[in-house]
Symmetry: C2
Subunit: 387 residues, 2 copies
């Protein structure tokens, strides 16, 4: 047992509690939960009463980090604290598994990535949707060229319904100072990650249209339409909101060799018998189009979700297993999110990589001009319905 990886959790609210539960239930091979820290005294008291006796509960992060009780940490605090806590943990020689998003602004996340590189420790992001076999298969189809050159990406992800009551449940929720954004930073980090992870492409420029507090009494974005252009001429549209019901989650990716749609937990693949450019070169008729096959692609495996990412992280530390979600990649999805907000604020195109100082300047202005006077108290919600 002495080579079990000793894991500690920083921030034990909604998601931290979920991580604590499956760790305590010994669902992760080769790891044990040894300590947690939450700066909220009431929460710490609840944890003392509800976690196993073997788990040490701290309210002071420094004491926790220096306790010698943990080899690795899961960071599940509010977003702003992710990078600075990760940097501090790396300095302490600990491995880090960080909840999404990587942070709130790319400048801060770049510093986290630099800290990770310097430490040489294992660094992973909790991109649990990378364990979804549908998205793994779609990535496989793209990366091996089955779709040909990518031409269009269209993601309509509006099934994030959140009521005013949800937003009122946490003082930090949906505020510039508490979260640094809305649907992009809280609900969409998975999609923003999958978008560039599956395609292996980042846009060269974006033009986005965010609405702030359109559907709810909040100050951050709750309705977004974003347009992206890529170096190879491909285009993309990403649409999201927390204000619609029943909502939709439909991803379509079109390449010059075929098309994939992921919707309702199903992947549909249409493959052209010859590539579109080849057909176009040879064809001499009027309204003809390339022969297209509807293909049944086997989707194997289960979505192992949060526990799957944690298991992969533990295996990476203990056995050198390649990470499914390397921490350094967390900046990519955040870059898309930051670019969408920045494009709206300056009402213009944004080139990528974005001007991280300009983004940070705008973010600070939003924080300073905020009129939100919410209670600082938070409620840990049941995670049913979250991802």
């Amino acid at each position: 047992m002495d080579n079990l990886l000793r894991i500690g959790i920083i921030g034990v609210g909604t998601m931290g509690t979920a991580h604590a539960q499956y760790l305590q239930q010994r669902k992760i091979n080769g790891a044990e939960l040894t300590a947690v820290v939450d700066i909220d005294e009431d929460r710490a008291k609840w944890l003392e009463e509800n976690l196993d006796e073997s788990v040490q509960v701290f309210t002071d992060v420094e004491a926790f980090l220096e306790s010698g009780l943990v080899d690795a940490v899961i960071i599940a605090t509010p977003h702003y604290d992710h990078p600075k806590l990760a940097v501090r943990a790396f300095e302490q020689g600990l491995h880090v598994l960080c909840e999404k998003p990587a942070g709130v602004y790319t400048k801060q996340v770049r510093q986290m990535n630099e800290g990770a590189a310097k430490s040489g420790k294992v660094f992973s992001m909790m991109f649990n949707q990378r364990t979804n076999p549908l998205y793994q298969k779609l990535r496989d189809l793209i990366q091996t060229g089955e779709l040909g050159e990518i031409r269009r990406i269209n993601w309509l992800i509006t099934n994030w319904y959140r009521s005013q009551s949800y937003y009122d449940s946490g003082g930090w929720r949906a505020t510039w100072s508490g979260e640094g954004g809305g649907v992009l930073i809280n609900q969409c980090p998975h999609q923003l990650d999958l978008w560039q992870w599956m395609t292996g492409m980042m846009p060269k420029r974006m033009r986005a249209f965010c609405f702030f507090g359109k559907h709810r009494d909040i100050e951050v974005e709750d309705d977004v339409t974003a347009y992206a252009e890529y170096e190879n001429g491909a285009t993309g549209v990403f649409i999201t909101t927390t204000g619609e019901a029943p909502g939709t989650n439909r991803l379509e990716i079109a390449g010059d060799r075929g098309k994939v749609v992921v919707e309702n937990g199903k992947l549909d693949f249409w493959r052209l018998r010859v590539s579109e450019p080849e057909f176009n070169r040879e064809y001499k008729g009027g309204f003809g189009a390339p022969e297209c096959w509807k293909v049944d692609v086997p989707i194997e495996g289960e979505e192992t979700a949060h526990a799957g990412i944690t298991q992969n992280f533990v295996n990476a530390v203990r056995k050198g297993t390649p990470l499914l979600a390397p921490g350094e990649e967390g900046i990519n999805g955040l870059m898309l999110s930051n670019a969408m907000q920045l494009s709206t604020w300056i009402d213009n195109w944004v080139e990528l990589p974005i001007d991280e100082d300009l983004y940070y300047k705008h973010l600070l202005e939003k924080i300073e001009s905020s009129t939100v006077k919410k209670s600082a108290g938070s409620v840990a919600l049941d995670v049913e319905g979250t991802y």
Copy 2:
């Protein structure tokens, strides 16, 4: 028989021939084909040989209009000529059924509408997709409030595959001087019409991203992503191209009372038990959402298509039947199309109604700077695959 409406066709290429065929086959009650005009001598000779003997063939439009042989005309010439021919026909006291698009630029189409109003004659547009029971039902659901207030419209209409060979088949095709645009003016007028016809809403401003000759050796747009904002806060995205296979035709409209998706010839309707704003006001929990019902809506009737619009036009003249596609409404879809091109040209927002003189100035510049040196000859294509 003496009260049959005598119809003449101006321009007997691809679509004009289709109209001639069903009229000759007496598929339209109360109407007969009496004359046609095509300025192309070879085409006129072919028409002499292939149409019924009772049909008079002209090569001179004035002689046709003044012949006294027709009470009404179907205009099926290249787009630029629609408004001026319609205006001339109205002056001659004739009823007009005009092929889509209404014209190429709104300034010209506004003049056509003024000519129609002055004449008091029946004026209809060949918006044959308005006869599709799916779209009629969707319009019904929207107009009677079943969807509630409209919040989002997303139309992905990329199943317009056209090869280079198609574009090379007609000298006027896909040129600024010949068509005045590409996929927006040739393939999409139906969707641009349905979009505003079904919702009863025109955007207040648009931001669009057109690519010109991206997939084919043409000078006009063949790939478009357009974003629209409405007075009530609703947003819309319209995506189209002629360069993709197999392509998609998926329309989603979300309201605060439900959602409709039209795809693969099927309408799916999700209805909220109580409206989203009402749920939001009352709900006090965390991740809850309004109860949503999947509803089977009966779709009755057949798509009567071009012949259906022509029959409705004939009935309007003979019996005063209300028009399904009043000619004056043709300007609305064209306004959307013009706005998308103009937004791209000025790389900025466009307010609606657009500045018609500014659009016309840009269009003239495109025509003047065109380097296309195509043969003026055209080939009448089999209409299979067109709409």
